[in-house]
Symmetry: C2
Subunit: 130 residues, 2 copies
């Protein structure tokens, strides 16, 4: 069992954030020593998952739904499958964006609007918004 400053140190999350996450049920402390929260070390794994989910653009509420509010992950298979598919989409998009950026950097066309490569990129971008 570690205290909040230790958890903060290990995770890189400020204590305020950890309290906030606990408040909204993303993590939990497993007791107190006086007033002070004590956490199980496993919480660091949860935090890593959370940060991963966030970098994927998931809102905290969704992350909570995916990894479970309680101690043990409550894994809803259908939800997970859906997320994985969503990630596939997102990865595709980001790849297009990245390639687009790299292309723009070296493209010689007068205006990007005239560049077939750029137009293709835009087509993909617009498709998504449908």
């Amino acid at each position: 069992m570690i205290d909040i400053s230790e958890l903060s140190r290990r995770s890189g999350f400020p204590a305020s954030k950890l309290r906030y996450y606990e408040e909204i049920g993303l993590i939990r402390s497993s007791g107190r020593k006086g007033l002070k929260r004590l956490y199980e070390e496993e919480v660091t794994v949860r935090l890593a998952l959370i940060s991963l989910g966030q970098s994927a653009g998931f809102p905290l509420a969704e992350i909570r739904a995916l990894i479970g509010a309680e101690g043990r992950p409550a894994l809803d298979r259908a939800a997970l499958a859906q997320k994985a598919d969503a990630l596939d989409d997102q990865i595709k998009q980001l790849t297009v964006l990245r390639d687009g950026i790299r292309h723009i950097m070296t493209c010689s066309a007068e205006s990007h609007l005239d560049c077939p490569r750029f137009r293709r990129i835009m087509r993909v971008a617009l498709k998504r918004r449908t």
Copy 2:
């Protein structure tokens, strides 16, 4: 030159959002007809870029810096190169996350903490936060 409702229709963005984007200098109108804004059709391309950037998790201010506040994209090569690299990172991460999710769905280990595959995923996740 098209009006705001037409631009809204074409882009799928509500008019309020378009006015907001104009206010913060992400897009611009090229005149008025009475009070009503008129936009060049090219703005749709800008909007596509914006939406692409957003789905990549870039804040609007950064998107503005990348695509330029003024009519023509002001492309800072160094900034673009950096973004492309950042996207590479993000794509890698999302791939790990996606594979992780798909794995969890089928993993038979008692706790994911015991699963070597899962632990590897967490290692990658934690590496990023460094």
